[in-house]
Each structure stands twice: as C-alpha cells, then as structure tokens.
C-alpha cells in the first residue's frame, strides 16, 4: 500500500490544493494566533514546572497544528475526549488554561465541567477515553441529534491498547458518529512507532470497517480540513473515521523525561524544519495576508497570557485536607462520613495543641 499524506500547506508555507479538501472560509490568521498562544501556554507551564510550581507538565510542542487544526474544525456542539496532552484542543474549546495547570500542579484531577465547553476531562490511562467517546456518540445516535459528533484524541502508543481496538469495533458496528484522532508524534515515551505497529496507523481502520486517513500533523490547514470532513461524515450518519495526524513530539514526553537517552538530536532538527507555526507565518507574510503589526500584536497577546499564567498559577490555593472526602459519591456513604469525622477530629487535636 502506498502511504499518502494529506497536505495543504508545505513546510515552506506554500498552499497545495486538494479538491477533496476545499478550504473556503478558514481564518488562517486565527489559527496562527491559536498556535502561538498555546505554544506560549506550553512554554510557561514548562518553566513553572522547573520552578516547582507544577508537579508535572506534558508538553504539546510540535503538535500545535494537529490540535488547533482539529480543535477549530469542531462545531460548538461537538464533544471532544482528550488524552492528557491536548492543551491546544482545550484552548480551542475555550477552556481556561489554568484548569489544565490545576491538574498538573496537583490541586485537582481536572475538575472542570466537561459539558460547559464540550471538552471532557483529561484521561491519563492510555486509550480508556476512546470507549467513552464511542459511548457518548452512541448516545448522540439515540438522541437523534444529527448536528453533533464526537472526537477522541489519543497517541500512537495508545493504538496498541485493547480498549482502542474495542472502541474502533464498537464505533464501526454501531456506526457511531465519532472521529478517532490519533496524534502520531512518533514516540510513546521512549518507544518509537515500530514498537507499536508494523504498518501505518491509519491503515488500522480498514480492518475494522471504516476509513482511515493520514494527514500532515504539522499542517494546521490540512488537519482542519480533514477533521472537518470526517466530522461532517459522522454527523451525516456515515460512521467513524480514523485520522492519523503525522507529527512529532519536539519536547520530552513530560518534564520528568530525558529524551537524550533514547533518540538522536538530528531527528529533532529535521522536524524543526517542519515546524507547524513557522510555515503558517511564512505563508501569511509571503501572501501579504498579515503584516508585521499582526505578528507583533499576537506576540504581545502571548506575553500578556504568559504573565497571567505565571501569576494565576502561584495564586492557586491548595485544597483543604477535608476536601479529600468530597465528591467520592453522589449519595450517602456512612463509611466515608465516619472516616471524615474521625480525620476532622484528629486534625482538631493539632489545632488544640497549637492554641
């Protein structure tokens, strides 16, 4: 099988037309702005982790186009199920980045309202969310909501998990309106693609009975167009699509990871030439669609965002000891209540002592 990669904007910033994926109304400047801002969120978060303000951070560096392109392709009614690295998608859904920092700071396990921005909580157990997305899509079918679809995000490594194959199969058998968006960033921590699959990931879909397509994951226009088309097909009752966004994890797996142990620096260099943001910038500049002031303005915006994040992060209050017992169950639970009471009494001893 020949592996074809859908690309609408070359690394050099030249537009390529593809009749299957027309690009009419897309706001390229907006996409550029999104990518710059989410990259800034990422940079700030990494810095904050270094300073001990965050316990951990999973960087999206290099995956901005895959996330912003697919994220902007979603309608406000579509539901997204992220993994743990989808900060760019979160941004497109309108979720306050501080919510993400809360999780990585260790102040909560997430705690935002998924329905408010149609963006589910981060899922850390690899692959689990693909079944949740599929089930949610089965709910959409039952509601007869023809203007809604679901998108499930996961990585190349996740494709090895049984749950992901089960999600592919459930979605196919029930013809559920879900788009499987795999960001193939070439690495699962220290394991490269050949440890996960012998053939291109997008080809996995055919064996489950639905279309798979590989898109240049560093091309925000292609990611936008391909995702939009797949979502449309899903809404129109054509079932699932697997999108493999071929991209690269430019940073470490997380702030605790040391990529020098398992991959060569030259790899990063070649991918830098395909930077998702640079190519849009040169396209906008060359085509005259944007001038210096636009780029400056976005930079200023980024600076302000960065400032806000640094301040807001440090200002985050820690949870109270007794909050440990909150929201475990909806109903009554005498066991939890008893433990809470006993622990409260225990803590009071020290209060007493302190007096």
């Amino acid at each position: 099988m020949t592996v074809e990669l859908i690309q609408l904007l070359t690394p050099e910033g030249e537009r390529v037309d593809n009749p299957e994926y027309p690009l009419d109304d897309v706001d390229i400047k907006g996409l550029y702005r999104d990518m710059v801002l989410v990259r800034r969120v990422d940079t700030e978060a990494i810095a904050l982790q270094r300073q001990g303000e965050l316990g951990l951070w999973a960087s999206l560096l290099g995956q901005e186009a895959a996330q912003v392109g697919s994220g902007r392709a979603l309608s406000h009614r579509d539901m997204a199920f992220p993994s743990y690295r989808e900060h760019g998608v979160a941004w497109c859904r309108g979720l306050d980045p501080m919510k993400l920092l809360e999780l990585f700071r260790g102040v909560s396990h997430g705690g935002w309202d998924p329905e408010e921005h149609k963006f589910h909580l981060y899922t850390i157990v690899i692959g689990d969310q693909t079944l949740h997305a599929t089930g949610y899509a089965m709910g959409i079918q039952r509601d007869g909501a023809e203007d809604e679809a679901v998108i499930a995000y996961f990585g190349d490594g996740a494709t090895s998990q049984g749950d992901v194959s089960e999600a592919f199969n459930f979605a196919s058998v029930f013809n559920a309106p879900v788009v499987f968006f795999c960001q193939n960033n070439q690495w699962a921590i220290s394991e490269s693609n050949e440890r996960q699959t012998r053939v291109p990931i997008y080809q996995r879909a055919a064996g489950f009975g639905f279309p798979g397509v590989r898109v240049d994951g560093n091309d925000v226009l292609a990611c936008y167009a391909v995702t939009r088309k797949a979502l449309k097909a899903a809404r129109e009752g054509q079932g699932p699509t697997l999108i493999e966004a071929f991209t690269y994890r430019m940073g470490a797996h997380t702030t605790t990871d040391d990529p020098t142990r398992y991959r060569v620096a030259s790899e990063l260099e070649t991918w830098k030439l395909k930077d998702p943001i640079e190519r849009v910038k040169s396209y906008l500049a060359r085509g005259g669609e944007a001038d210096g002031s636009f780029f400056e303005q976005v930079e200023t915006e980024a600076d302000e965002l960065g400032k806000h994040i640094r301040e807001a992060c440090r200002a985050m209050p820690d949870p109270t000891p007794l909050s440990i017992f909150d929201h475990v169950v909806a109903g009554e639970n005498a066991i939890i209540d008893a433990e809470r009471a006993q622990f409260a009494a225990y803590l009071d001893q020290f209060e007493e002592a302190a007096r």
Binding site: S108, G110, G135, R142, V329, A330
Partner: protein, 333 residues
C-alpha cells in the same frame, strides 16, 4: 400505594420485572451486554425486553466487557442510565480497568460535576455445576474500590426492588445476583411504591436471634436462614441472621447493634476467606464491639484456592453444616 397482594416470582423473573419497570419509568434507562437481546440473556433476566423496548434500548454488544463498560460510561456522560450485563462473574475482569480507573473515579475527578449512573449486573457465586470461571465471587475487588456501590440481593423480593434502586442511584453500582438462586421463588409485591422499599444501603435482619449474629449476603442468605432453624432445633441456639445486602458501604450500625446484643459473630460468604469481605466485617465488628465479643468473629467461606471443578464444589462452598460448625466454634471460646 401497595395493594398488598403479592405474586410468586423466581429471582430471575423478579429482576426481569424490575428492569422492565425501570425501562418503563425512565426513557434514559438502557440495557447492554452479550446476548441480552433475542436470547434474553443466558439466565433469561432480560427476556422479552428487547422485543418491547427496541434494539436501541436493549443492546446486544460486541463480545468485549471493557467495551461494554467503557461505552456505558460514555452513554452515562450523555445522560443515559446503562445497565450492563456481565454474562458470568469470571468475565468481569477484562472490564476491571474501566470499572476501577474510570467508572469509580470519574465523579471524584470531576469534583462532583459528573455522575455515572451505571449499573453493572453480575451473576455471581457457584453451586450450578458449571465449568471454570462461571462460579466466581469477585465482590471484594469492587468493595475495596472507592467510588463504587456494591450490593447483592438474596431473594426475589429484594432483587425486584434493589435492581430498580440501583438503576435510580446516581452512583455506579455493582449489582451481584446469586446465580444459583435465580430459579427460587418468593413473594414479590410489584404494586408497592419503590420509595417504601428498604433503602439500598441498609442491611436486613432476616431472622431475629439473641445468642449469635450470622452475617451473610447473596446465595448464602437462604443457607444461613436454614442454619438458624437447624441451630435452634438442634441445641436451642438463637441465631440472628442478617442479610447485608450492601457490601459497600456496609450498614455498620445494624451489624454492631446485633453483635452488641449477641456477643458472638460469624460471617459467611462463598468468596475465599483470605482478604475477603469477611475480613473487613470481622475487623470492623471487633473495633466497634470489642468489649461485647465473647469470641473472635469467625469467617466461613471459600478456600484460598481457585474455584474447584464442579464435581467437588459442594465441599468448597460453605454449606449448612460448615456454617453451623462455625457457629459452634464461637461458643467454644
């Protein structure tokens, strides 16, 4: 209001009626699992439901337990109330990750903004002469998992009400059905309003007694009732039998009140004794009733072995004799 008149139903039939009632009253209730449609489940618990409520509400799924629970979670996030059938106890394990890491924790993860009203029905326990993996008692795996409710019904009447209460409950519920009792009949009042039923978290004193407390649940409830009768007849011992019904959380109050009264306690379940639910009950009762106990809480249950071949399962399962032996031993202290 109850018209008072009851009907005799098998436990399996009572569950079927309860499910039907839930499907009737709440359009969001769904049933999903393997062979729950035309076949009506291998135990016929969902018999006729797909015919009456359609393939969208009673769903034959692909053969994948993780997929069943995982998609049920997604459906619940969408506002549905899925009731998943796990065909046999031994086949719940492929779904463990979705149950422990997702179903049980999502509400907490969301700071209470998400509720997952998913009920997972599991026929459990032995005694039906089945092959391997069809006679397991996995309750403690779930009882130890925070965020789940774990309940077990002991007779048809409770089966009918508890399944409805579980489906109506906003928390995920592991609903254990005593498979070898599916065909046993009891009086069920299908006219009584569900609100009048004993709450899901409450234990039930099924036999009042004063000499020793016998705690159990699921398939052994009936065995323990018979044991109480036998003990009274044999040596005039008054055994109080409590059907725990809720395994997580435990109804500690009801248990402690009884043991404070009797001073002796025996716990019986089919699951292996080692690190089984009986351990939690024994530890808790001892903490709460230390000065009342005339003897240590004794545990009668399965052995620290895999479930044996069916031709010898009667020796593995706690029967009337072994339970009485346990009761006797508490009087030797």
């Amino acid at each position: 209001m109850s018209t008072g008149d009851t009907t005799k139903l098998t436990l399996s039939r009572a569950l079927n009626e309860g499910l039907r009632r839930s499907l009737d009253t709440d359009p969001k209730v769904m049933i999903m699992g393997e062979d729950v449609g035309k076949l009506g489940g291998v135990f016929r618990v969902t018999d006729g439901l797909q015919k009456d409520f359609g393939e969208h509400r009673v769903v034959d799924t692909p053969l994948a337990e993780s997929g069943i629970v995982g998609t049920a979670i997604g459906l619940a996030l969408r506002g549905y109330r899925p009731v998943c059938e796990i065909q046999f106890d031994g086949f719940v394990f492929p779904a463990t990750d979705q149950i422990i890491s997702q179903l049980a924790k999502m509400r907490y993860r969301s700071k209470g903004q998400l509720t997952l009203p998913v009920t997972i029905r599991i026929p459990f326990g032995g005694g039906i002469g089945a092959v391997e993996h069809h006679s397991e008692s996995p309750e403690v795996y779930f009882a130890h998992t925070a965020g789940l409710r774990v309940v077990a019904c002991g007779d048809a009447a409770d089966a009918y009400t508890m399944i409805q209460q579980s489906i109506a409950c906003d928390d995920p519920v592991i609903f254990l059905e005593p498979k070898r009792r599916y065909w046993e009949k009891a009086d069920v009042d299908t006219t009584a309003p569900i609100e009048d039923a004993l709450p899901l978290g409450k234990a039930r004193v099924v036999v009042e007694g004063s000499d020793v407390t016998l705690l159990t649940y699921g398939p052994l409830v009936r065995t323990c009732i018979e044991a109480a009768a036998a003990a009274l007849e044999a040596d005039g011992r008054s055994v109080e039998v409590i059907d725990l019904r809720s395994l997580s959380p435990l109804d500690a109050g009801t248990i402690a009140a009884s043991v404070a009264k009797t001073g002796r306690c025996v716990v019986a379940h089919e699951a292996p004794v080692y690190a089984g639910l009986g351990a939690e009950i024994a530890a808790r009762v001892t903490e709460q009733c230390f000065y009342h106990l005339e003897a240590p809480v004794l545990r009668i249950g399965g052995f620290a072995t895999p479930y044996p071949a069916s031709r010898v399962e009667d020796h593995y399962l706690p029967d009337l004799e072994r339970i009485l032996d346990g009761v006797d031993r508490t009087f030797r202290f």
